[in-house]
């Protein structure tokens, strides 16, 4: 019993180290889109559809401004490693079907793109949320 308790406590303590704060999928604050299901997000982020469910144009940005964020996002979205996601995109990109989302390496660049692109969608960590972004889906850790 004591052992179980200490394991439990250890797990609870360890949890924040693994990491994990929630992930938010966000669009431009002026967007009509209110909420997106997991399935709709897979269609958009994996290049299957280039529009929102209502038919409006979508522009995907890949957020690489926070260490480990991309990896966590795709793990949550499709349960694939980054290598698998990149290999998948190589197939789509170089068969000319869909262009791979633009990867943004700095937070400032990301905020700027998201603020000025009305059709934009991306994923952010909690600390990156602000008034110019509207949350359309939340992934809990």
């Amino acid at each position: 019993m004591k052992l179980t308790t200490s394991i439990l406590i250890a797990c609870l303590l360890a949890a924040p180290v693994h990491g994990e704060e929630a992930l938010f999928v966000v669009v431009n604050a002026g967007s009509e889109v209110a909420e997106l299901s997991h399935h709709e997000l897979v269609d958009i982020f994996m290049g299957r559809y280039n529009t929102f469910p209502d038919g409006a144009q979508v522009t995907v940005f890949d957020n690489d401004s926070v260490q480990g964020l991309r990896e966590r996002f795709y793990r949550q979205l499709v349960d694939r490693s980054l290598a698998q996601v990149d290999s998948y995109w190589a197939r789509l990109q170089f068969s000319g079907r869909v262009t791979q989302p633009e990867e943004l390496g700095s937070a400032a660049q990301l905020q700027e793109k998201m603020r000025t692109t009305r059709s934009a969608i991306t994923f952010v960590s909690e600390g990156q949320l602000n008034d110019s972004l509207k949350v359309v889906h939340r992934f809990d850790p």
């Binding site: 280039n50 490693s81 698998q84 170089f94 079907r97």
Partner: protein, 415 residues
Amino acid sequence: MRKSAMVALLGLLSAAPAMAQQDIRFSGFGSIGALYHDSDYLGFHRDYTMEAVELGWSTAADTMLGLQLNADLTDQLDLVGQMVFKNRVSDEVSDNLEWLFLRYRPNSDWAFRVGRLGLDLYMLSEYRDVSYAYSWVRPVPEFYNLISSISRYNGADVSYRTRLGDNIFEAKLAYGSNDAALQGAEQQIDIGLDDITALTLSLTANEWLLRASIANASATGENYQTNQLLFALRSIPKELWPDAAALADEIAFIHRKSRYYALGAQYDDGRWILQSELGYTETDWRLLQPYMSGYISLGRRFDNLTLFAMVASVQNTEDAEEIATPPSLPFLPAEQQAQLLALHGAAQYSYHASSLDQTSYSLGARWDFYDNMALKFQWDHTQIGDYGSSLWVRDFPMAHDDSVNVFSINLSFTF
């Protein structure tokens, strides 16, 4: 068409800096590969549009570089150009232009393309040179070598997509033509495919991809040795060999209808990857007997390491026809007999030249050791039946069976 396409691409490349940065994207892919094969008689190439490599180590067979440009002209109109540099049979610079097309997407269901396009006939057709996009070192030659002439074309296609439950169904109809310089088993041949018509249906789920496709084309080929044979057969007096002229008509490679059928399935749950394709091809040309080809590959991922095993095979479904010897033969003087027999032999030989009979067993590993880079190792053991070696380049069709080992190491990347 080729020249104007090149000019258009070059024009576009030079105009690129003038356009807004977000409208234009450059990207690329490549692989640096080395292979060793142990056959004294057979030269290896992964597809007929490439030169073959001889016994020993070589880097020419799997090393290639692709450059791509995507330009969004409007929300609905975009332009894609791709150049692929590899050890092609063709020396023409414009043949490096893999595709260059304009695409119009009025909504997310419909797409119309025109230009030089990839023909989406087999699963890997449109990314067969993008080694980073699959586990193996190369698309399996038993399946992909033969169809290299029909993997791209100049023309147009239209595709329609719709949701079926959680899955996406796509239908694509294509029409166009293509020219290609091929390295056949013994001879180089310039092939022209006209009236290519192809229909591809696919169903994409989260873990599954299912495909079925069918294509027709009219094929015409030009080759020096065949021309000589035709000339000889047609100049033989009718009394000596009554069938000679009819035989020449069978051998001539002009407007031969060819039909292609393919089925494909892929399963990928993140850990296991299963992929299989089955193809059947037939032509009205006596020299290319109908054949079936297929492969099945099973892979298992462990973090960034993927191990895979594969079996692939290609077989004719009909044997090459035997040509009857000229009936006049016994009545001729020895010298003429020998000449006529030589000609008969040459005609018979041409019937065997494209025979296919081989099966390969492959084991390999892919290691994703760094972002957008993968290192691959692969061993292929190929067993070839009597006369069945036409996927290889050789001096003559071997009448005996053989086996070949190919060892490959490959670094593939995208940027």
